[in-house]
Each structure stands twice: as C-alpha cells, then as structure tokens.
C-alpha cells in the first residue's frame, strides 16, 4: 500500500482524537498481515472507501474507550454503559476519521468517498475480506488506552 495513503489515515486519526477528546494518539507499532487478521478487542468500526482508492479502514478499541468518546462528544456528560449513544459515538469517530482522511487524500490527488460505518462487537473476532489483500495494522496508545487502525485496500493507487 502506498505510504501516502496510510499516512493520511494516520494523520486523520490523530487529528480527530485530538479535537474530540484532547487526547494524543502516539504510534506504537505497525504490523502486516498478508491474509487477514484476528481482532482481539471489544469494538471494531468498519468503513468502506470508494472512488480512486477501494478498500476498508477499521478502528478497534475497548468498550471503555467508546464511553470516553461519547462523553467527550457530549462535552463531559458521563456515559457509563455501552448503549445506542456510545455505539453512535464510535460510528461518528469513524465518519470523522474517514472525512478527514478523504479530505487529506484529495490534496494528494485521490478523490474518494466513505461508506456508512458498521460495528462489530465481541472478542476474538475474525474479519475476512475478499479478494484477499494485505492488512496493515497501526497501533496507537493514548491517555484513554490502546487504539488500532487497520487499513486494507484492493488496488494500487493511480
């Protein structure tokens, strides 16, 4: 995958978490999975990318982080249970990262759009994509805990 593409998503994630929760995402690692990846965390927000780039990006985080995101968007109102509000918050974080990334990608010459988010919740979830394409997992840490960004694109950028 073109590093320019990955970098726009990384910058978008850092920017969005900073604006939403005033938290600093720090990149702690990068992994490569040629044939898929088993997700070990609580909540995965999956969004499709269409246009000049085709693929998906996924944000995975613990339930406790989803509550902090919801509370931050609600300007400090406590959110203590994972319900429709918290689920809506992680969907919105996905939309915001996708929106920011596609705006940055446009400056690199890629015109893209994002699809509506889907949520997968559970332990040891195995997500498969077809056709099989390598997955890149970018690990972040922040004041709220660990967050992963997973990128998977079908085709080489133009």
């Amino acid at each position: 995958m073109d590093s320019r593409v990955a970098n726009q998503f990384i910058m978008a994630a850092i920017e969005v978490f900073s604006k939403v929760g005033n938290v600093s995402l720090k990149k702690t690692g990068l992994e490569y999975f040629p044939n898929g990846h088993k997700i070990n965390t609580g909540i995965a927000t999956i969004l499709g990318v269409t246009g000049d780039l085709k693929g998906q990006f996924i944000i995975t985080l613990d339930e406790s982080i989803s509550l902090k995101i919801a509370s931050a968007i609600l300007m400090g109102v406590p959110v203590t249970t994972y319900d429709e509000v918290a689920e809506s918050a992680v969907c919105e974080i996905g939309n915001m990262i996708g929106g920011e990334a596609t705006t940055l990608l446009q400056k690199e010459g890629f015109v893209c759009d994002i699809t509506v988010p889907s949520i997968v919740k559970g332990k040891e979830v195995n997500i498969a994509f077809y056709p099989i394409a390598p997955l890149f997992v970018i690990h972040f840490s922040c004041e709220w805990g660990p967050i992963d960004l997973i990128l998977r694109f079908d085709n080489k950028p133009k």
Binding site: I73, L74, S88, G99, V111
Partner: protein, 119 residues
Amino acid sequence: MSKKILVVDDATIMRLMLKHLFENNEFTVFEAVNGKDAVDKYAEHKPDLVTMDITMPDMDGITAVKEILKIDPQAKIIMCSAMGQVDKVKAAVMAGAKSFLVKPLQPERVLATVKQFLG
C-alpha cells in the same frame, strides 16, 4: 420567545450533543433523523435555523436543503458534516446552505456561527 433550531443528523450522539449545546444557550430544539424527516419537521415547526448533516438515509442533507428552500426561500441552514472535501462544500453552498462546519464540531464555533445568523 426563544429561537427555534432544527437539528438534523442520523447519528444519535450528534443530535444529543447539539441539543445539549443549544438548550443550554436558551434555544428551543427540534430533531430530525434524516433529510425527509427534516423537510417534514421544517414545515411543521418553522424553525429559525437548521443544522444539517449530509450523509443520511432516505434523503441526504444536500437534497433536504433544496427541498426546505422550496418551502421557505429564506431558510437559514448550516451544514455540519464530517465530509469536508471541496466538492461537498461547493455542493452545499450551491444548494443554498449559509455555512459549512466540519466535524468534529467545536461547540464555541457552532454557537458563534448560529448566533451570526440569528443575531
């Protein structure tokens, strides 16, 4: 009498956030969950201002702006979307939106923009 704002967003969290923000600043808030609902609620409540998401089921925000302006050519509509690409902003302005705020929304910026149009 307090000014009325119609908040249009399919995301529960964003409707809650904007409702909380506006009610704490003495506005009366109505909610709509998609573009079609927004057109119906606009006709019903005649709000002083609308905040409008773009990507929504049933009817998107750009289409809803055009439909609302058919009902009331003076309608004040502010787009609030995560999709801040140039083409989206242009489409919203061409449709008749007065302003465009990119999510994540900054509460102070939202209030300043609303007050700019509501005086």
